[in-house]
Each structure stands twice: as structure tokens, then as C-alpha cells.
């Protein structure tokens, strides 16, 4: 009992110190996007729940080692911990409650961050997918038509991973393609992620978006940025590849720019116009949830001989 009280006191002190120390963990805070809010909360929750558990094991271990360190020649001075089922149940019960709490919190937060608030009715997950050949649900939500995100519609952006670059397609602007990811601040953006060759993973660290790009599969994710910002040379606001995809995996980065809606619309209209003017837009494959580069179906028809 004496030991239990001492351990308890040390444990409380160490836990408090650890919880104070959590403030120094370099989590980028506050979250710069809406769906990142829940993620950041959960990270802190796990640190706060974990710290006392962590402290308890350390304190008990060190306390036990110091107290029961063999001193003097004669053994048998100590009374072993009684082997009671009470302690077993208590231990198991506390573990179980902590697990239930963490899993419950995680499930709730997952549910919260899965659907963007404004378009929840469309029933899209962060991570729905469709097999090749089946119609994707996301086609029905006014993907090809409609004006950007203004009337409560999300801005759809297709993210195409390939070795070793990212391509971003804006289907609501004629399906033009861009090497840079430009998005309006404050608007809901839905990413439709696919890959042409191997598994990649689309990761925007600063805005808490990550989803694998799997060949032959359409995955979706969403984000709503809270602040503007462009890629900086110090490593802020870049699109990375997070799944080993071969030789230049580490170099598979794309620039991004979160701008005001007005600037975004101007940029998008300009890109669409210039790609239409150069004939690029016409030669791109029609928008599809997934692409198979080796199959001819998605390729433009072979050029015909011109009659003189």
C-alpha cells in the first residue's frame, strides 16, 4: 500500500510534466484546413491519453527497480505483490476502457472528416472507390458542368499520379490539365485520385490530405483550405508522393498555390483558354474516373490523311 501511494504521487507529477511537454511536440498547429481540424485534435487527444499511461509504466518500472534492488546478503525481506484476480480485472478493465475511448473517438472523428459539411448529401467518402468499368458516383454531382464551387458545389479536381509527376485536371473548366495544384481558399475541393502506373500516394502535409493513387481505381478525398499560401522553398505547401513508386519517388513533388477565389477563377479561365487555343485540350482523353495508358480506348483517334 505504501508503495502504491508513492507510485501514485510520482505518477501524477510525471504525467503533468509530460502533458506540459506535449506543447513542444512540433505538430503544425493550428490546422490550416477544415478537415485537418479533427486530425489535429485526435493527435493531441492521443498524446494526452497516452502520456499518463506512458508515465505509469515508466514510474512503476523505475520505482520497482530502485526499491527492490538487491541490497545486503539476506534475501526474503520483501513481500511479493499478491496475485489477485482483482488486480487482473482492474488492469484489463482500465486497458479496455482506454481502448474503447480511443477507438470511439477515432471512429467519431473519422465520420466527421469523411464528408465535407456542405456536400454531405452526395454520400461521398474520403475514400470511396469504383472499379474500372463501373460508373463513378462522382459523375452525377455535376462534374462536367456547373460553375466551380460557388453554389455549394465542390470544386472537383482530378489528381493523376504517374512516375514521377502529378497532373491535376479541372473537369469543370473543360478538363484542362495543370502541373501545379491551384485551389481557391475557403471552398470545398474534392479530389478524384487515380494513377496511371503504380501505387502513389497523394499527400499535402500542410492541409492534412492523404490518399493513395491506385492504378485502375478512383479514390476521393476532400479539403477546405483556411488560409492562402503558395509553395515555399523552405518546404511549405507542397504536394508529395507518400508511397514508394520507384526511382524518383523522392522527387515526385508538385507546387501548389491556395489563392483567393477571384484569382483562382482567373487562372482557371486562362489555363482553359490557352490549352484550348493550343489544341491541347482537344487531344486530351475525355475525362474518366480512371485511365489505362496502354489501352487505346482513351486515346484520341489516329490522325486521318487530309484530302488535298
Amino acid at each position: 500500500m505504501r508503495h502504491a501511494i508513492r507510485i501514485g504521487i510520482i505518477w501524477v507529477i510525471v504525467s503533468i510534466l509530460l502533458i506540459i511537454g506535449i506543447a513542444f511536440v512540433p505538430i503544425p498547429a493550428p490546422a490550416s484546413s477544415e478537415e485537418g481540424e479533427g486530425i489535429h485534435q485526435t493527435i493531441y487527444m492521443l498524446f494526452y491519453v497516452g502520456a499518463p499511461v506512458f508515465a505509469f509504466v515508466w514510474v512503476t518500472l523505475i520505482y520497482g527497480l530502485v526499491t527492490f534492488h538487491a541490497r545486503g546478503p539476506e534475501p526474503g525481506a520483501y513481500v511479493p505483490l499478491p496475485e489477485t484476480n482483482t488486480l487482473l480485472f482492474l488492469w484489463a478493465g482500465i486497458t479496455f476502457v482506454i481502448v474503447l475511448f480511443m477507438a470511439g473517438w477515432g471512429t467519431f472523428t473519422l465520420h466527421e472528416i469523411t464528408n465535407p459539411p456542405a456536400v454531405a448529401a452526395q454520400g461521398q467518402g474520403t475514400s470511396t472507390r469504383s472499379h474500372p468499368g463501373t460508373t463513378s458516383n462522382s459523375h452525377k454531382g455535376g462534374l462536367h458542368t456547373g460553375s466551380v464551387y460557388t453554389n455549394g458545389h465542390p470544386l472537383n479536381v482530378q489528381v493523376i499520379g504517374q512516375q514521377w509527376l502529378w497532373t491535376f485536371r479541372y473537369p469543370s473548366y473543360g478538363g484542362f490539365e495543370s502541373k501545379d495544384l491551384v485551389l481557391p481558399v475557403g471552398g470545398t475541393v474534392r479530389f478524384h485520385i487515380t494513377s496511371l502506373d503504380v501505387v502513389h500516394s497523394f499527400w499535402i502535409y500542410q492541409y492534412d490530405v492523404k490518399e493513395d493513387a491506385v492504378p485502375g481505381v478512383e479514390n476521393t478525398a476532400w479539403m477546405r483550405a483556411r488560409e492562402t499560401g503558395a509553395s515555399t522553398s523552405s518546404g511549405k505547401n507542397w504536394v508529395n508522393c507518400n508511397e514508394l513508386c520507384g526511382l524518383w519517388h523522392g522527387y515526385m513533388v508538385a507546387k501548389m498555390d491556395i489563392t483567393t477565389p477571384v484569382k483562382f477563377r482567373a487562372w482557371a479561365n486562362h489555363m482553359e483558354a490557352s490549352e484550348r487555343a493550343s489544341g491541347l485540350l482537344k487531344n486530351l482523353p475525355p475525362y474518366a474516373p480512371v485511365y489505362f495508358p496502354q489501352s487505346n480506348a482513351n486515346f484520341p483517334p489516329a490522325p486521318q490523311d487530309q484530302s488535298p
Partner: protein, 635 residues
Amino acid sequence: MAVEVASLPQRRSWLARPNALWAFVLGILGFCFIVWVLGQDGGLLNMTFGLEINQVMFLGYAVAVFLFFVGLGVFNRPVKWLLGLPISEEELLDEYGAGGGVGRYFRYTLDHKVVGIQYLVAVIIFFTFGGFLAMLIRTELLTPNVRLTDPETYLTLVTEHSVTMLIMASSIIIGPFGNYFIPLFIGAKRMAFPRVEALSFWLFLLALVIMPTAFFFGGSQTGWTGYAPLADQMHAGQDAYVTTWALAGSAATLAALNIIATIFLMRAPGMTWSRFNLSTWSILVGSILAWLAMPIMVAVQLMVGFDRSFLTGNFIPVQGGSAFFYENVFWTFGHPEVYILAIPGMGIVLDILPVFTRRPVYAYRAAVVGLCGIGLLSWFVWQHHLFMSGLTPGLRPFFMFSTEMISFPTGLIFLAALGTLFGGRITFPSAMLFALAFFPDFLLGGFSGIFVSDVPTDVQLHGSYWVQAHFHFILMGATLFAFFAAVYYWFPKMMGKRLNETLGKIHFWLMWIGFNGTFITLAIVGIMGMSRRYATYFPYLQGVNVTATMFAYLLGISMVPFLLNLIYTWGWGEKAVENPYHSRSLEWMTPTPVPLENFAEIPLIVAGPYEYQPNARPEAILEPSQAAGGTVAGT
């Protein structure tokens, strides 16, 4: 059957006998001949048989493995049996290495003690090799740009390091200590299937030797996961990866099968399930996992091999395959694999704690339930590796819950460990230090694991250095520390000499500080947004990376006192006393060095291994027929 070593006739010189030298010579020659002579562009295989490079590679590896076993003499006995040739008892004894000498460690020897030592030496060699690769990786990461290597070499180093370490670590406890000590733990004279046991070692060795051959064929840039559409694209070096896993998987399956059969069938009378020591329990659970999970990996790698050489397109979406298929099947193996590594370590440390606290292990039954529970749960969590892959998003809450549930049986292990310390009389030799370090390290592993098991936080941490730090906490912090605890603890039994304590403690503190420094720093690198398997990174991450590398060098240097200690003790160490720790366990009741048949008579087990109290009777009666009034029937 007492064996008089002197009575064995001196046989042919070692050069004239099948041994590892001939095995390697034949294997290497066969491989080189197939790949570089017959298989070259315009060569016989290429022109006449129409084989392409991957087909040539697999043929080369198959021929090399076959010739290796010919050189090793694996087929001698079956061929004699086929031809009806007689086999004398002397020959049989010789197969068991009864003649003694160093040569038996280089032959296809059937004695489980020889196989245990072979495993131990191989594990240490490949651990050093893998660690050296890790040092190269950390050196490359000193600068944000690629300086030391190029991306191709860097990723090959990553693959070589990870595959070597994972295969080595899958057998790091089960191989050396499982083979050496399971018969001693349960009172058996040998393993159930001695030939399978020897075969498992040589397959394991071949797997680890074949992996570095990838360096000669463009390397393998897939990481240890070898995700499929990427693996299908790789150079011929990827065929080494496929072959390695096929051989290593077979080796682990066979070793596990042998250990399971031994534990089930060869127990001494009175060795009831609740008298097992926790090492036996944990090696049994680990073996069951290996026996069930490893064939999955063999199968999935064969499918990759078929994709590469027979154009089957199992995993290539354009050909109707699926990338999800590989990921799913791979992790169905991959998650139990983690526990194949971790569970045996838990049992080992729980076995060492009571010896140095001089009291029974606390809550033995809870610890057993914990070990079995982790083994069972490990089959229901694999999709937590695929939370961000887009596969069955609706099942993510379930896999989050099942993953976090693993802390439940793990908690029982911690209860047993912490409870054992209380009221004990603790001493701190090197073995105990390593065993104790298991718990804070495993705690860090579990703690960081909760973050990646939770789907919302996994969005940020998946695939980052956080994950890398997490599994190193488990694989290295737990398994490696348990391994070193076992080496220090059982060295007097295996070698008859006790490792130097001063060097052991220097080794421990260097390794513990280096290890924790490296991987706590790398966890921070991960949370700061650095992705795994990058040869380059943003300059703002350089400070933490350099810190991690410095700690990693310390970790690397910590192996020097250990290796020195091994060499010093082996050569000049003093002979250890019998049972230097006054352990109650059965393995310490046999003489050192352990005779060929372990026990003169099958012992009679009369008590558990942990009853450290005054006047407790010993665990076993070694010669029941001699004991006064001893009856074999009752316990």
C-alpha cells in the same frame, strides 16, 4: 545410448566430404554459368529456348539452390535410401555431429544444438551486414541532397537493409534459441524432425545470401513491401527479392512446423502445459503464426515471380489484375509477420526477469493468455496498413478497433513484467538490463502504434518517418533487445563461457541511448512531415536528420563492444560455472557442454520453472529410474 566420441573412426578429410564450401562453390558456379554463360544475350538459353532475363534469373536461382544442396550432401541420405544401400549407426551418429569439432558447423548436421549455433552466428553476421547498410542510409540522409549515392542505389540500400533485417529478425529468437533450447526446455532428446530443422537453417542462409545478389542486377527499389505494379517493373534484381522471400518463407515455415511438432509430441512426462516456461509458450505462438503466415508470402511472391517471368498479370491493372490484390494478400502475411518477430522476444524477457528477481513470474496465466491473444488478434488487423489506400473504407472503424485491442493482451504482458519486479530481489547483469529495456522500448512502440492505428491521425502519419520509428521500436527495441538479453543469458549454456559483464554493460548503454535517440528523433522527423524512403528532403528537416544520424552512429558503434566481447570470450574467456544464475529452469540442469542426447534419461518433470522460494524442489528429476521411489507414472 552414450556416445563415445573416441570410438568413432576418423573419417575422410573435410575436403572430401560434403560441406558448406562445396555447397557455395557449386551453387555460385551453377548460378554464374546459367546467368552469364548460357543466359547471355544470344546464348543457348536465350537463342534456342527463348528465355528472357527474368526467366533466366529464376532458372539460375533454382539451379543454384539445387546445386547448393547437392554440395551440402542433403540428398545423400535419400539417394542411399532409394538405392537400398545400408546406413550404419556410425554414419547416423556422424550426421548428428557426434564426432564434435568445428567441421560439423559447416555441414548438414542434424543436432539441434549445432543448428542453434549455426543460426546464432548467421543471425549476428547478417545483423551486422544489415546494420552497416543502415549506417550508409543514415549517412546519405545527412544532407538534403543526394551526395553519397544516387536514388537507385539509395532505394536498393533501403530494400537490402529491410529485407535482410526482416528475414533475419523473423528467425532471430526462433532460429537460435528455439532450435537450441526447445528440446532442453521440454525435456526431449532431440527435435521431432531433425532433417527439417537442418534444412530450415540452410534455406534461411541461402535466402539471406541471395538477397545481396540483387546488387549485381540493378538492385531492387521496392522497399521490403515490394508493392506489385512497381515490383513488376523492376530490374532483374527484383528476382533476387522474390527468390529470397520464397526461400525464407519456406525456411520459416519448416522451422515452425518442426518446433510445433516438437512441443506437441516430445514433452517429457510431467511437462504439462502450465509448466512450460514462457519462452516455450512464446516460441510456440510465434511458430504457429510463422507456420500459417509465411506460406502466404511465399505464394504472393511466386505470383509476382509469375508476373515477371510468365506475364500472368496478376497485379497489373491493364491486364485485369489489381494492385489492391497484392497489398491485401501481402499484409495478410505482413501483420502476423510483425508478431512472429515480437512474440518470442516477449517470452524470452519474461523468462529472464524471474531469474534475476528471484521470485516467480507474476500472473503466469495472464501472460500466457496475453501471448496467445496477441497471436490471435494479429490476424484481424492487416487492413490498418491500407487505411489510406481506398480499400473498403467502411471497414476502417473495425480495423481501428481491432488494432487498438492489441494493447489489451499486451497490457497483460506488462502486468506480468511489472508485477514480477515487485517484492523481488533484483540484480542487474547485462542480460537483465537488456531484458528490462524491452519494456520501455516496446511501450514506445505501442504508444507510437496507437497513432497510426487511429484513422484520422494515420492520415498525417501514414508512410512518414513516424511509421518507420514505430516499427523500429517494435522490431529493434523489443526483438533485438530480447535477442541480446538471450545471448548474454544463455551464452554460458551454449558456449560454456560467460560474456564479459563490463563490455556487456558498455554495449547496453551505448545501444540503448543510440537506439532511443535515433528513433525518437525519427518519430519527430515523421511528425514534421518527412516521408519514408526519400533520398532527398526539404532543407528545413536537416537539423533533426543530422541528429538522428549521429545517434544512429552511436547505435552502430555500440555493436563494436558486443562483437569484441564475443570474440574475446570465445577465444580467451574463462570457463563459466554450471548454472551461473541459479536458475530453476530445466535447460540449466543438463551438463555443459550439452551432451549429444541432452539428457541421459528422459527427465520426470515435477514442478514449474519459476518457483523461486526457499526449499523449493527442483523442476525435474533427471534420472527417474535412479531416484528413490520414483515412479514415472505420477507427478
